[in-house]
């Protein structure tokens, strides 16, 4: 059905919608009808897709279409300044809207994977990094003078990451093709045995044994099998996959090909988050190169009949698509709503066929493991978490960037080595992971203790942790897919509840409600997003009770809203401002 070429799947629904959005600034109802007809889909399904992904818009966006990252790690809000608001003010545009002259639209977005570069944003898909209050002014000028993007200062376009610590995998002098050669030489069973024996577990954070996943997929009945590389690196604070795709994409692709050989797949997909679209030219070049070298395509590595190729599918702004079944839905051109599991993707994945979905780093590691052997990999790490792990370190430290550590490393040591001073908290594994305070800095990175997909955000003692927890809680409310009741409603309730407490209007009753709602969302939600959405709150209630306690109102009960503010519309309409026109808000 698809042709492999130098461009992404032209006919993938998400890509078609993206092209229309590029061409027409938005996706009109007319376009929706046209596409529905073209794809023989119900109009409602196309509408549902457009409505689901944050990067698709039904109202025209500006010549300059900006998505400002509000990730707390990169520090858009620092030293009493909110760079996003500053930019909105300078450009005279409302956040979330297009300026009436149609020139600028400014949106807030969650982490764009530039956390080691300071405050950053995407302008027409291009990341601008290292923003400070001075550069905001200059940025506004560039936009107002309609300067073409390629003429903007190159130092804003810096997207590489510093590597501060290397271990097994980064030190491996991987020779392209070596992994495939070994795999072909050993045969599928032996190759699978290496992966299994190495103890490699999924690097996205969930930690499912990779060998077991591949074995289950290989054994599952199906007409075709698929290999999917999850490059939807959406967990705030993570950027190591972006770096891997920038620097070592060939090893990732080779890992996919190895998997394909083992499980018997002919088709692979690299599902790239929409925020990383700018990596596309590089990835296409790499794909072409792999094909030229016989590492993708037909008769790979000279093996007759071993045919495998990879298509890139680019998302459009939905964190939930990092969940493997949601990702598959998205690959199929649908809204990224997680499926009921079982059946798991290994038996019924893409188009209902057995599918392996692994993280970028997992494939990357697998390629090296095949070459160097299981024992090599197990030489570091812990019995339950073998090998090493890439961490994306950001936040309040002197040396943010990529670190490779063997599993079992303590948080304390990492903090020391990344130049973190006076740290009060570390968010490990992103908002969906674990927030720990000083008392827990002796804990170890590993599936048996602090599991992480790679996000490691450092918060110094001057941080207001309530702001951080609020930021993460808003993030989940924004990213909830809306499928199940507890997550759809609960995440917004948590957001409001927390806001009431954060602004000093909460009481012990509100804390009790916060705890109850958190537990409900955690236990009853449909998928991982919901299961983890309350983590920042539950963790901080545990580790930072003072950020709640010190804000409690000195009343036993407070209203849920500001009563006096609720009279403001009436005051305006009646032009009254007498004493009876106000209420003690009690809030």
């Amino acid at each position: 059905m698809q042709k492999h070429g130098d461009t992404p799947l032209k006919d993938h629904l998400l890509h078609t919608l993206h092209m229309i959005q590029q061409r027409e600034r938005c996706i009109t109802d007319e376009s929706i009808h046209r596409i529905a007809a073209q794809y023989s889909l119900p109009v409602s399904q196309v509408r549902a897709v457009v409505a689901f992904y944050a990067f698709f818009q039904t109202e025209p966006c500006g010549d300059y279409h900006l998505f400002f990252s509000n990730c707390p790690a990169c520090g858009y809000e620092q030293a009493g300044q909110n760079l996003l608001q500053m930019l909105a003010h300078k450009l005279n545009v409302q956040i979330g809207q297009t300026r009436p002259d149609g020139r600028i639209s400014l949106h807030e977005t969650s982490c764009i994977g530039m956390c080691d570069h300071g405050a950053s944003l995407l302008v027409n898909g291009q990341p601008l990094t290292g923003l400070e209050s001075a550069s905001i002014e200059r940025l506004a000028n560039q936009i107002e003078t309609a300067a073409p993007l390629h003429n903007w200062p190159q130092d804003w376009m810096h997207t590489d990451s510093a590597v501060h610590k290397t271990n097994l995998l980064l030190e491996d002098s991987f020779v392209p093709g070596a992994g495939l050669r070994t795999t072909l030489a050993r045969g599928t069973d032996a190759a699978l045995e290496i992966i299994t024996h190495s103890g490699l577990r999924g690097r996205g954070g969930a930690g499912f044994a990779t060998g077991r996943k591949w074995r289950l997929c290989k054994a599952a009945a199906g007409d075709a099998r698929y290999v999917v590389c999850n490059a939807d690196e959406g967990e705030p604070g993570t950027f190591k996959d972006r770096w891997l795709l920038q620097q070592q994409a060939e090893r990732v692709l080779e890992g996919m090909a190895i998997c394909a050989f083992i499980i018997g797949a002919r088709q692979g997909f690299l599902y790239l988050r929409g925020e990383y679209r700018y990596l596309l030219p590089h990835l296409q070049t790499t794909l072409a190169q792999q094909r030229r070298q016989g590492l993708l395509g037909k008769n790979i590595g000279g093996e007759p009949g071993f045919e495998f190729d990879v298509d890139i599918v680019i998302g459009a702004g939905a964190y939930i698509c990092g969940e493997e079944s949601a990702l598959i839905e998205s690959l199929e051109g649908k809204p990224g709503i997680p499926r009921n599991r079982p059946p798991f993707p290994v038996t019924q994945g893409y188009l209902g066929q057995p599918t392996v979905v692994n993280n970028v780093e997992t494939f990357w590691a697998a390629a090296s493991i095949i070459v160097n052997g299981a024992d090599w990999f197990k030489s570091v790490g812990t019995p339950e978490s073998s090998g090493s792990k890439l961490l994306s370190i950001s936040g309040d430290c002197t040396a943010p960037g990529i670190y490779e550590y063997p599993f079992g490393i303590t948080v304390h040591q990492i903090l020391r080595e990344c130049g973190a001073m006076n740290t009060q908290a570390v968010q490990i594994g992103g908002p969906a992971g674990t927030l720990i305070g000083r008392a827990d800095f002796q804990r170890k990175i590993g599936f048996e203790d602090l599991s992480t997909g790679g996000s490691f955000m450092v918060f110094g003692e001057t941080r207001d942790m309530m702001t951080v927890v609020q930021n993460f809680t808003k993030f989940f409310a924004h990213e909830s897919c809306g499928f199940c009741t507890p997550c759809r409603v609960g995440t917004t309730l948590l957001k409001h509840n927390l806001e009431k407490i954060a602004t000093g209007h909460g009481t012990h009753l509100d804390i009790q409600t916060l705890r109850e709602t958190s537990n409900l969302v955690q236990r009853y939600a449909h998928c991982g997003l919901g299961h983890t959405a309350a983590n920042p709150i539950l963790n901080s209630l545990q580790s930072f009770p003072e950020i709640f306690g010190q804000r409690l109102a000195a009343r036993s009960f407070t209203p849920n809203f500001d009563l006096d503010a609720a009279l403001s519309e009436a005051r305006r309409l009646t032009r009254r401002d007498d004493s009876k026109a106000h209420l003690d808000s009690g809030y």
């Binding site: 009753l509 036993s556 009960f557 209203p559 849920n560 809203f561 009563l563 609720a566 009279l567 403001s568 519309e569 009436a570 005051r571 309409l573 009646t574 032009r575 009254r576 007498d578 009876k580 026109a581 106000h582 209420l583 009690g586």
Partner: protein
């Protein structure tokens, strides 16, 4: 009045008085209740300011500043505060106005209505200002018990009072639970 009696205050905020009517629907049984309970501030008496009470019954949601103040007075003076009926509990039918801005509602009634002379939005200082929305009472004060229904039936009231008079925690029998 007899001090050993339960002292009862009632008020209607943004309600329709239907809950009060349903209370009266106890009919002859009202007489028996009055042997154990006496009224403080209520639309049925001439007591205008609430004193210390055992039970406060609140009908209606909160739509204006005066509602909010009366509700707070009730909370401050009642040992047990009860939200009675759909409007008090979740805003009820009056909360249908929450679909519109206050301005739209006022303009429709006082500016654009049929046969209007001197169109203007009433703004006298004697009029309590309207809140932007109609709010459930539980979003403004702590509520101890809820008697749902539009209105709750007379039997529901009786169940509730009987339990209180017997010193029990009132629990609504499932069959009395209804929202319409």
């Amino acid at each position: 009045m007899n001090n050993s009696k339960l002292k009862l205050a009632t008020t209607s905020l943004a309600g329709c008085f239907g809950c009060h009517m349903s209370f009266l629907d106890m009919d002859e049984r009202l007489e028996a209740l009055l042997e154990h309970a006496s009224f403080d501030r209520s639309p049925l008496t001439d007591i205008k300011t609430i004193g210390n009470c055992d039970i406060g019954l609140i009908e209606g949601g909160v739509c204006n500043a005066e509602n909010a103040e009366v509700l707070r007075q009730f909370r401050a003076n009642c040992r047990i505060l009860v939200a009675v009926g759909a409007c008090a509990i979740n805003g009820g039918v009056p909360a249908m106005r929450n679909q519109y801005s206050l301005q739209e509602c006022l303009e429709e009634v006082y500016l654009h209505g049929t046969g209007i002379v001197n169109p203007r939005i009433p703004d006298d200082i004697e009029l309590p200002l309207l809140l932007d929305k109609v709010y459930p009472v539980g979003e403004i004060v702590k509520i101890d018990y809820y008697l749902p229904g539009c209105p709750p039936s007379a039997d529901t009231f009786l169940h509730f009072f009987e339990a209180l008079l017997q010193g029990k925690t009132p629990e609504l029998p499932r069959e009395t639970l209804h929202y319409d």
